[in-house]
Symmetry: C2
Subunit: 471 residues, 2 copies
C-alpha cells in the first residue's frame, strides 16, 4: 500500500474558523448561525455518544451553495459535517474537531418524478415521508423505511434500510445516481437513470454508506415501486424467540416474498403496549406484511400460516384495514421511544448487528442470556428477514459503572455476530461508536484499503472527520 497517512485529526485554529465564519456570513447572512442553541441542536445525537457541537451551522439551499461552503472550508482546512434530520444513531453528526455543520433541510425539493421509469430525482434534505405523500396520487412509493422520517441524503450516507428491506433492498439498491460535492469542492454526478450499468467504478455505491466522509450528497436519483394492489399485515405470537426465528428462516427459504417480517421480544412487546396503548399478547411476536395482488397476498399468508403453525405459533391476527395496519407499524416504529419509556430519564443505546439467517435464533438467544446476566433493561426488535436485529439497552449515562457494563455488552454482541460471519452493524453505520470494531470485522488489509480511499478522496481530512475511520 502506498503511504496513506491521514493528516492528524486536530481541530483547526481559531483564526481558520474565524475566517470561514466570516466568509460564510458574507455569503449566507442569517442562514449562518453560531448561536449555542443551534449548534447544540445540530450535535444532539440519539445515542450515548456525548454531544460535540460544530463551530457554526450553515443552512444551504443548493448544490452550488454546498460547493461554496466546501471550497471555503478546504481553503482553511476546517471540517465539514453534513446534517439532514439528525436521526442517525452512532454519532454521525457530531463535530469532534469543530467545523461547519451543513444543514440540508432547506434542500427538500422533488426535482423530477419519472413515473414510467419508476424513479425520481430529489434533493438530499427531502424526507421519505414527504416524498411518499407527494407520490401517492401516482400510485408510487419509496419502499425503504428506517422508521425515523430521515432525509434521503442521510439515509444514503448511512446505507439505511429498515422494515421493508427483506423485499425491497437497502439504500445500496435504491439509489440509481447521486450528485455530491467532493472534499476539494468539485460537483460530481455518479450513475445515470439506467437500471444497470457496467461503465466504470461504482462511485454511487462507494458514496452510499460512506457516512459523509468522502463527499457531501446533495441530490439523489431513487428507484420507486408501484403501490401494491393488496397489502395485508398480521401479528403472530410464538412460544419462544427461537420458534419465531425458525419460522422466519423457513419463510425466507421457502421463497415467500414477504414485504416485512419483524421480531419483537416479550420485553419490547410490553414496552410497546405501554407506550402505544396496545394490548398485544406479551410473548415473542412477529409482525408481518405481504404485498402483491389479492390472490398472491392470500397465498403468501396461507403459506406463512402453515409454517408458523408448525413452530407452535398462535393463530394469525390480521390487520386488514389501512388504519389498523398503520397503528401497528407506528407502534413498531415507536419501539425506540417505547424502550426509553421503560426507564424514564435513561438514554437508549440503540445498537444493531446482522448475521446469516441460519444463525439468527442462536445469536438472539445468546444475546438475551447476556442481557439477563448483565442485568440490563434491553428490549430486542429486529428486521429478522435479513438476520438483522437491534438491542436497545436503556442506560443511565451519568453512571460510569453502568455505561462500562453496557459497553462490555455491546463488545460481546459484536464479537458474537462477527464469530457467526455477520457484521457489526446491519444498518446504523459505524459513526463514532463502532470505529473500534471495523478492523475486527474487515481485517487490517481491508481497512488499509478504506484508508487509502479516504486519503484519495479527502487528502485534507476535512470531510466529517472522526467517523468510520480512526484519525
Amino acid at each position: 500500500m502506498q503511504a496513506t497517512a491521514t493528516p492528524p485529526l486536530t481541530a483547526p485554529g481559531s483564526d481558520a474558523v474565524a475566517a470561514v465564519v466570516s466568509g460564510l456570513r458574507d455569503r449566507f447572512g442569517d442562514r449562518l448561525s453560531t448561536g449555542q442553541a443551534v449548534r447544540e441542536q445540530h450535535a444532539s445525537t440519539l445515542t450515548w455518544a456525548p454531544s460535540q457541537p460544530p463551530d457554526a451551522v450553515v443552512f444551504a439551499t443548493s448544490t452550488a451553495e454546498v460547493q461554496a461552503v466546501m471550497r471555503l472550508c478546504a481553503e482553511h482546512r476546517v471540517p465539514v459535517i453534513p446534517f439532514g434530520t439528525g436521526s442517525s444513531l452512532e454519532g454521525h453528526v457530531n463535530a469532534p474537531f469543530g467545523g461547519v455543520s451543513v444543514d440540508l433541510s432547506g434542500m427538500n425539493r422533488i426535482l423530477a418524478v419519472n413515473a414510467e421509469d419508476l424513479d425520481c430525482v430529489v434533493e438530499a434534505g427531502l424526507t421519505r415521508k414527504a416524498l411518499n405523500v407527494a407520490l401517492r396520487d401516482q400510485g408510487l412509493f419509496f419502499p425503504i423505511d428506517p422508521g425515523a422520517d430521515a432525509s434521503f441524503g442521510g439515509m444514503a450516507a448511512t446505507r439505511a434500510s429498515g422494515t421493508n428491506a427483506v423485499r425491497y433492498g437497502t439504500m445500496r439498491d435504491a439509489v440509481l445516481a447521486l450528485t455530491a460535492v467532493t472534499p476539494n469542492g468539485e460537483i460530481v454526478r455518479t450513475g445515470s437513470r439506467a437500471r444497470k450499468s457496467a461503465a466504470g467504478y461504482d462511485l454511487t455505491r462507494l458514496l452510499v454508506g460512506s457516512e459523509g466522509t468522502l463527499g457531501l450528497i446533495t441530490e439523489l436519483t431513487l428507484r420507486l415501486s408501484g403501490i401494491p394492489e393488496a397489502i395485508s399485515a398480521g401479528i403472530c405470537s410464538f412460544p419462544s424467540v427461537k420458534a419465531a426465528c425458525d419460522a422466519v428462516i423457513l419463510t425466507i427459504q421457502t421463497g415467500i416474498p414477504v414485504a416485512r417480517i419483524e421480531l419483537l421480544d416479550e420485553m419490547q412487546v410490553r414496552a410497546c403496549n405501554a407506550y402505544s396503548k396496545l394490548s398485544l399478547p406479551e410473548t415473542p411476536l412477529l409482525l408481518l406484511e405481504f404485498h402483491g395482488t389479492d390472490a398472491s397476498v392470500r397465498e403468501q399468508a396461507a403459506r406463512f400460516g402453515e409454517i408458523a403453525g408448525g413452530e407452535g405459533a398462535a393463530p394469525f391476527s390480521w390487520a386488514r384495514e389501512t388504519e389498523a395496519r398503520n397503528r401497528l407499524w407506528q407502534a413498531r416504529h415507536d419501539a425506540y421511544w417505547a424502550a426509553l419509556a421503560l426507564r424514564p430519564g435513561g438514554r437508549a443505546v440503540a445498537t444493531d448487528v446482522c448475521v446469516p439467517i441460519s444463525r439468527l435464533a442462536e445469536c438472539v438467544a445468546e444475546t438475551k442470556r447476556d442481557i439477563l446476566e448483565t442485568g440490563l433493561v434491553a428490549p430486542i426488535v429486529g428486521h429478522v428477514g435479513d438476520g438483522n436485529f437491534h438491542v436497545q439497552p436503556v442506560v443511565d449515562v451519568d453512571d460510569p459503572e453502568e455505561v462500562a457494563r453496557v459497553a462490555g455488552f455491546v463488545d460481546r454482541l459484536v464479537a458474537r455476530a462477527l464469530a457467526m460471519d455477520g457484521t457489526c452493524t446491519g444498518e446504523h453505520g459505524i459513526g463514532q461508536k463502532k470505529i473500534r470494531y471495523l478492523e475486527a470485522e474487515h481485517g487490517p488489509e481491508a481497512v488499509a484499503l478504506m484508508r487509502s480511499l479516504k486519503q484519495a478522496f479527502d487528502p485534507l481530512g476535512i470531510m466529517n472527520p472522526g467517523k468510520v475511520l480512526r484519525g
Copy 2:
C-alpha cells in the same frame, strides 16, 4: 483533486519480464507457459479488439499462488491480467503492455454451500453452469445468466447480468463478499455472509465492475435463490419493435415480477431460425419466463397476455416442458453465434447500451433506422426489462472502411443512449473499446475520482493496464 498522475503506461523492459518469468518458472514449473499458442489463446477476444497476447500465462490454483504472482510482478513492475474463460466482449483479457495472464480455471472449487442462508462460497474460476449442476439437488440455483458459461471472477469483474437480471439483479446484487489480491500483494476479504451491512466503505461493490484494474478476485460469496416451484416460458410475436417495447414498459410498470423478458428483432429471429433450426415467426419477438408458485405463474402469464393483446401481439405460444424451454433459451443464448453465421467470415461487434425503460422503444427504433442507413448487418437482442439491448454488427475486420463505418455507428449508439440519460454499457463493461465514452458519460470530475481510486489501489499501474481508464 490531489495529484493523481498514473504512471505512464509502457511495457516493462525485457529484463523485468525475464526476471518474472524465471521466478514464476521456479515456483510453477509447467504451470507457467510462454508458448505462443497458449499466449494467443489468452488474448483471443470475442470482439473486434485486435488480439494482444501476454508475455506469459500462469495457471494458479490458490489465492496464495495468486499473491505470489502479484508480489513478483509488483517487484518488477510487470502487468498482471486476470483470465477466467475469456468470454468478455470489450478486450478485457488483452495485454496491450504485455505482462502475465493469470489463468484461474484451475480455481474452480465450491468451498461451501450454506443452503439455509441461500448462499455459497466459490473460487473465482468456477463457471456458473458447473455451480448450477452442483446445486440442483439442493433445490437451489444461481440466477444470473449472461449467456456464456463465464467464470464467477469474470462475471463479478465486469458486473455481468443477463437475461434474469430484471428479476434477480446483477452481479452487483449477487456478490455478498469477495476475497481479492490487491496490486501490492495483500489478500483482502470484503464483506461477510450477512445479507446487509452498514460497516464501512463498500469495497465489495467497488471491486465488482472494476474489470481487474483494482485487484484480482480469487473467491466469492454469492447469493443463491430457491429453484421456483413453477417456471413457464413463452414466445409472443409483435407487429413492430415499438409494440414489443411498449408491452415491456407496461409489464414492468404494472409490477409483474417477470423473470426474463427478452427482445429479438426480426433479423435476429431469422438468424436464430437458421442457426438453431427453429421455425419462429420472423417478426419482432418477446421471449418471456415466469417464476413462482403454480398460481402466481398462471396469474403473471394471464396479466402479461392482456398487455400483449393490447399492443396487437399474436397469441402467446407456450413452452411448458423443460426441454422445449431449454431449447428456446439455448437459441437465445446462441444469438451471438447466430448473428455471426449471417455473414460467414465476419466478426461480431457485440456492443450494448442501457436506457431508462420509457426511452427504450425510441432508442431501439432510432438505432434500427441508423443500421439501415449505415448499411450494416446488425441484429438486435435485448434484456429489455432493464432497458438494456445489444446490437451485433457483423463486420469484415479486414475492410478499414467498413470498420470505420461500424465505429461511427457505435459512437452514435452510445451518444443516443447517453442523451436519453442511459449508459454506454449495461453489462459488457468498458474494457479497451469503450474507454473513449467514459468521460462523456460520467463527466471529467467523476472520471478524476475514478483515477484517484485507481492510483490509491494500484500506484504502480500493474493491474490490467489499459482497461477502464486511459493511461
